[in-house]
Structure formats: C-alpha cells, structure tokens
Symmetry: C2
Amino acid sequence: MSDLFERHRPMLEAAVQALRTREFWTPFPEVPSGKIYGETARSDGEAAFAALWDAPFAIPGHPEETRLGREESPFGPALGITYPAASAETLIAASQAAAEGLAEAGIEARVGVCLEALVRLNRMSFLIGNATMHTTGQAFAMAFQAGGPHAQDRGLEAVAVAYGEMTRFAGSARWEKPQGKSAPIVLEKNWAVMPTGISLAIGCNTFPTWNSYSGILASLATGNPVIVKPHPSAILPLALTVRVLREVLAEAGLPADAVLLAVDQPGAEITKTLATDPAVRLIDYTGSSGFGDWLRANASQAQIFSEEAGVNTVTIAATDDFDGMCANLAFSLALYSGQMCTAPQNIYIPRGGIETDQGPKTFDKVAAGVASAIESLLSDPARAAGVCGAIANPATLDRVQAARATGRIIRNSAPMGEGRTASPLLLALEDGDETAEQECFGPIAFLIAVADANTGITRASGIARRKGAITAALYDTDEARITRAVRAFAQAGVNLSINLTGNIFVNQSAAFSDFHVTGANPAGNASLTDTAFVASRFRRVMWRRPAAA
Amino acid sequence: MSDLFERHRPMLEAAVQALRTREFWTPFPEVPSGKIYGETARSDGEAAFAALWDAPFAIPGHPEETRLGREESPFGPALGITYPAASAETLIAASQAAAEGLAEAGIEARVGVCLEALVRLNRMSFLIGNATMHTTGQAFAMAFQAGGPHAQDRGLEAVAVAYGEMTRFAGSARWEKPQGKSAPIVLEKNWAVMPTGISLAIGCNTFPTWNSYSGILASLATGNPVIVKPHPSAILPLALTVRVLREVLAEAGLPADAVLLAVDQPGAEITKTLATDPAVRLIDYTGSSGFGDWLRANASQAQIFSEEAGVNTVTIAATDDFDGMCANLAFSLALYSGQMCTAPQNIYIPRGGIETDQGPKTFDKVAAGVASAIESLLSDPARAAGVCGAIANPATLDRVQAARATGRIIRNSAPMGEGRTASPLLLALEDGDETAEQECFGPIAFLIAVADANTGITRASGIARRKGAITAALYDTDEARITRAVRAFAQAGVNLSINLTGNIFVNQSAAFSDFHVTGANPAGNASLTDTAFVASRFRRVMWRRPAAA
C-alpha cells in the first residue's frame, strides 16, 4: 500500500524542504502550456468539460438518495449537471463506516494516496480550469492557475506539513532509566497516530479548490474521513476532486467513502446539520464572518479552521516609481473583479499628496493615476475579460450599484462584454467615513484621504486589527517609516507587501512560502499552512511495556 | 540579552533531541540527595521554608492592592503566609503593559529567561519540595520530585517544543520565481513570531507546579504574558515560581510583569473574571470537568488547554508474576492516597478468576492479593506516611466515607498518623454498577467483576472513551489479546501500560518521552507536550518586498 508513497517520496521530501526554507518551489507548473501538460491537453480538457454538461456526474459507489445541482456559469449558461446527493445522516454514517479503515491504513498509505491524487489532479488541470472558470467566473488563465496548480500546491503543502508533524517524534522508543547501582528500568514504548474524527470542508463560491484543498488533504493525511460540502454554485471543481480522491483510495485498498461529497440546494442547505453532528470534530470553513460566528456558537464539538471576511488595505506614503505603482495596483484591483480574499479595498492617501519620482502628486493626481492605469489595463476588451473575468454572485453587482452613492466617484464600474461583469469602481472618501469600515466584497475600492502617511499606517493597521485583513500593502520611500509600519502591521497580525511593482501582486500568496491568513486577526484563525493547522487533527496514543530481556 | 540563551543552549539542544527520540533524558536529577544538590541543600531548603511561615511573601514590584492567603498544611498547621494580591482589572492592565516588551524581546531572549529560571528553580528544589508537601499533602520525597525536578522537566519540555516550533521554518527567505526568458521575480521575505495575547494558568491543589509549568513556560517562551492563578490552597509553590521568573525577566531587561500572581480567597475567586476578559486569549487549566465546561461555554474568546477528570482503569486478564503485579498495583493505589490524575480507579477482573504463575486465582483471591500487598506496603508507619502522604482536600475524606456504603469492602480505608490521611479503600462491585461510572477522586478503587478478560478490556476502553481517562493498565499473558487491547485503548485515546512490575508504575509520566494526557478523550484536550500545545500560542506574520538589486 505504500507503493504510492515510495513513488512520490522525492516530491514529498522536496516539499518538506521548501517549507523549511520558504524559497520558491512547486512541482505543478502554473503555465497552461501544451509543452508542459501535453500538446492536446487544452483541447482534451475542453472536450472533457463539454462532455460533463447537461448530464449526471458519476461518482462510483457514492451514497445517492437523489440528484441535485443547479450550477450556472457566470459567463451565461446553466451547466445542467446533477450530482449524487444524500442526507446529512446518510453521509455521516458512510463517513463513520470508512473511519477505521482510513485510520488503520497508517501514515504512509494515506500520504501516498494524497500525493497520487494531487498528481492526477494536476494532469487534469485544463478540465479543472474550465470547471473553475464556469463556476466562479474567473477568466480561464486564472481559473487554470488558481483552480489547478496553485490549489494543488496548497494541497501538497498541507500534506507535507501533516507528514512532517506525524513523523516529528519517534514512533517507538527504548526508554532506559538508570537506577543507581540497580539494573535500569527499561520500557518499550510505541505511539500510534490516532485521527480526531470526521472532518467537514465547507467550500466557497470563488475559490472552490484553492481554499479547500489544504483542509481536505490535511485531514485525509492525518486519517480523518472528509465530507466535502461545496458552495451550491461551485460544485463541479470539488466533485472532480472528490472523484479522483475516491478512485485513488479504492485503488490503494482504502475505503472510498473516506471522501464524500455533500451537495445541497440553495434554501435547503445541509451545512448546519452536518456541522453540528457530534461525530464531526474538524471543520474547515471559508466564507462570511456571520456564518463563522454561527459555527463557533453552535458547532462547539468541533475544532474550526476558518478564513472569513476582512478589509485589505494599501497605504500610499511615497513612491519612486509612480507609474509602476499605479499599474501594479490597477492589476490588483481589476484581477477577478476584486473577488479575491486578498484584493485591496481601502487605499489610504495623504490628503496633501505624496512625493514621487515624478515630483509631488496631490491626492487627486494619485487617484487619477490609479484610475488611468485601470483604463489602460482594460482598454483591450479581450485583455479586460482575461483579467476581470465575471462576477460569481449577482449580489455583488447589487453591492457595486449601492456603493456608487457612498462616495465621490473617481472611476465608475461598467459591464465588459460576455457574462455577468463589472470593472472596478473607485470612490474617494474622507478619513473616518463609515463606508470603508466594512468589507465590500467585489470590484469596489475606496481612496481615503488621510492627514498624512503615518495616519494612513495607523488606519490601515487599525482596521486589520479590528475587522481583520488578509493582506496589506505599503508604498513608501522612507526606511524609518517603513520599519515602523512593519511593526504596526505585524502587531495587527497582517502580512505586508512593500513597494510591489511589476509582475508580482499583493493578492498573490504562494504555497510553501507565504502563510496565507495569519490567524492573528479576525479575518480567520487558520493559517495555510502552519503547524497549528495540522497538529490538532490527530493525537498520539502510547502503549508501553517492560522491554524483553 | 541572549547571554542566557547561549549559556543554556546545550541543555536546550539536548532537550530537543530527547523529544525526538523519546528516550530517557533529564537535566534535573530526581534524587533528593546532598551529593547532587549540595551537602547543605536539605537543611537550607528547610530553613528557607521555615523562614516563609507566618510572614508576608515578598514579590518585588508586583501589583499589590491587598494581601491574601490562608493556606493550611494537610499535615496540620496553617502556613500563615500572605501574598500580594490585586483585582483582575489591575492584573490584566499590568499584563497588557508588559506584553509589548515581552513580544519585542525575541525568541532567544525569552527562551533564555525560561531556561535560566528553570535552572534556578532546580537549585531551589528542596524549598519547592517543602512548599509542595505542605500545600498538597504529598510526602516529602514525592513533593521534591513532582514539585521540583519532574515539574522542571515538564517546563523544559514545553520550552523545547516551543523553541522547536518557533524556529521550524526560516525566519527570512529570498524568494526567486522564474519568469521564463524574463528576469525572475525576487522578493525578500521576513517573518515575525507574534504572540497571541494574555495567558492565564489556572493551577490545581494537588500538583501546583507539575501541572502548571508546561502552560506557563510554553506561553512565556512564545511571548505571551502569563497570569498565574494558583488554587487558593496551594499558592506557595507557584508564588516561588513567579518570583523566580520575575527576577530573571528583570535581570534580562524584560518586564517583570510578564509573569503575575493572581491570589484570591475561597468564596471570592477572581478566576471567572480573569478567564472571560477579552484580553485573555490562552487558558491552561487543570481541574474539574464542571469548571472546564464553564470555561468552554463562557471563555470562548480564549483557546483552552485542559486536563480534567477521568476514570483510569486496570484490566487484569492474566499474569506470570502475581506477586509482582499485586505489589505494583498496591503502590499505584497507595501513592499520594490516589490523588494523582494518573491513579487507577476501576480494576476489572474476570468473575471466574485468572491464570497466574501461582496457578488459577479466583476473583476474591486476586482482590485479596492486591489488598494484602497494600497491607504489606503500609505495614511500617513511616513508610506508609512516605507513600501515602496526606489528603489535600477535606472533601476527599467525605468521599471515602460515602464510598464505603457503595460496595463490598475488600479493604477498608483508615487514617495513618500525622495530618489528614486515609489509606486506600478497595470495594468489590459487579459489572454495570453505576458507582464506578464516575471519577471518585482519592484513595478509592473498585474491583469490578466482569464476565471475562475481553469484557474487561471492552469496559475499560469504553469508559475511557465516554468519561475520559489519562492512564490504563493491562496485565495479560496472551499476546493476541494484548494486540487487540492495544488497538482498543488506542481507539479510546488512552495511554496503556502493560504488565508493569517492579519500580515503574502506571501513575508515572516522564517528560520528554510520555505525552501526558492524549487529548483524544474527555480527560483533557491538551497533551504535554505535543506540538498542538504550543503551535497556536503564536502566529507568523510576514513582510515582503522586492529584493535589493
């Protein structure tokens, strides 16, 4: 059963090493190229995707009491795919029945299954990319990367952290305690890794695989059966994932029901029933803070690993590359129409303007620079569509509409061709405006006039501490102020990107290097992937006895 | 400031190594010998202890609004010691004021302080032993070991696990992402270890230092200021500890108020006020499940690390050393009059008897063998006092009295000389008797007649799963049945000791090797000391920027 483990051991060892050094590493190329994935990979992926439309999605052996599924592509059509569905009770029972087999399989067998499944998912990245595109609204290039290799990276990272932790201490020991002149006491000790219980992964609409793979794979590697509960609008990427995991489990002689899909309908969700079942001991959740609060209050039998809402910020204090800064921010704001948990929202700019390589710039000039960079980025419709994609949830368009009235419009939002789309809305606000005190999810950014750069840093770090934040960015040329800002943002528990220009963006969080979400502010308590994310998913239990003479 | 770290680095590295191998190791000798601790150590410790009686206990610079303290030795006299005391509000404010200095000190400065304090506490082991003896009722030899070197071991273990975790991943990295034919993207990344918040350590009456050092030192090493809340009957050992920690903090230039003592009076406890303060983010708790439930329901702002109640078991299936088994169990039952969280309570014996090296033994013969071994162990009054010590809490005597009526008395409990004492009460019960379904803390054990050995294993593992257990013991000669039992107890999440005879006991849990409490059953969610115990006491926060050319 550890054939798979041996096959993928070099990749695992490289991942463990990368985790330690935090240097760039990935086994899953992010470029959607036929040279890497095979000359026919693109068309094969498209064909495989087309074959899924308007048909029942098969998951062999999966509990099935009915079929559900009403996904609609944000680019237009209904997918017409139905999935096997069962009640929470049936799913819990199937999961429990699989638990012992998964636990008894041992570390290497489980880790081997996880690694093989990730490699197979990687080969399917074009199909996963299409499935991600038409459930989330991401443009294809991003859907390929975020839904495919980058999600696989996060999954592998979690497996590597889990493997490192499960094997951190000896599995057996000869314990020899001196007794002065008498013979020593000698015990044989052995430790078993015992899983915690059923694990529930609650997915989100915008990043169904990227945000869920860490929890799914950390739980599976540590021996906990997983029930995957996708967002009703983004089932397909996780259904494909579940199917692959079950295939590999079965091939390895492990119970396929160690991974189950929990499909439901809007208005008849089974999430709460699943989350409060006494057998569910681990919950990975990505979504609103409101439902996060509900889980904390009601699912107290489970450990909860969450990513929730926050207000990401940019503080513009000064720059020696004004054009580069504006272009970089334009991309960060436009990418997937601001529907990333890492997208900036509040941009603090001194009311009196800033120093730049082009001389002093007033607040309005800075605002105009960002707006103009967005215009330039989106001037070609094909490129605009490729950057912005479509809007996943119709409520986001309502939010854009409502936001228009809340500030001075610097740049208006507009539709952009195919599907449900909206380009970035930029609004100018005065410091203290309550509008900017909440997350306004979607292509909405506030340019906030503050007294000076220090005030901007105070506002940006303060809102991270109070409301949560996953990212913060700073543009500055004053090293002393940068040092103070580093400390302020660290104390607010938010990762800070300084002076990014060119092809690297505050939105981007790279597996094996960047811990995604720190766990140190209200934007979430889980960090992808630190040791705390895996260490309590299992326990060590010992048996000891006198050593044979 | 890292002088202390450098001074103690070899000890730290040896501890980290011992954690990995789980082999026997300690830098703190457990033998209360003048050859080790200095020829005058014993008399010096006694004199230092005598000097503390009937006087105010000084903690220089500690917040003091009043003086409190009414400890009484279980061996008789009132200690007459008062401690500086302050309201929860004052303590929280002082702790918050110390937080930034502790956080900014950095890993090595804090770890150095922890190591130096442990070494100083080790030198004070005779004083700590006396203080432990006269607050817990432990006989001196045990009070020295459990209150001194063994507690210091647990503290060092926690520091080593925390240090290992804080330094597990690189603190900085050069992240270089290839861009095909273009120049790579190169970022400098840095990570700060940011503490979680104020840590509250709620101590217990019976093992004030042993059960508290892990949490106190794990929090301090990871940068969280600690408020130490001793049990009102066992303040002195922790007051001595707090004083030493504060001394070393101050000498290292760190805020002494990073460690505070929270003394209160029975009937006017400040524990709930402290535990529910929004600034308190970590709680280490040893005590009843009832108060554990209260904390979980009311202190939801904090992570709770608990050791609570459980029902420890022995299953006697067979033995090839009947006398050795009985002698071993007699000691486990008598040691500190059953007031250890690891002491056995329910002893399952086949109704039809067992096979032994002395031929078959009926249930009553096995019971008589254990009772007789206790008589033999306690026949010499001085040795009896040295094993049993005194009863910490008068309620335990009431529990013994009430228990007498609940089963057939195999061996009666009796007082044994100086102080509040009670020798072990052994009662015979039938399988299914509800009496044995709860923890009966103190010198009370139930010999429970079950259908056969397998039923005993089922009952013992079952109660561990349902009610919690910290230890389980098994005596058996059938290797196939032992293998099945190993699995059953592992699935119940309880550490199992098999066929212990001689000078090693199920009650004993050795730092650096035995994980104390698994976290996998209701007896507690914290394991001393696994990675989960330290990993969420801090978070990593990054700042990144383009690398200088």
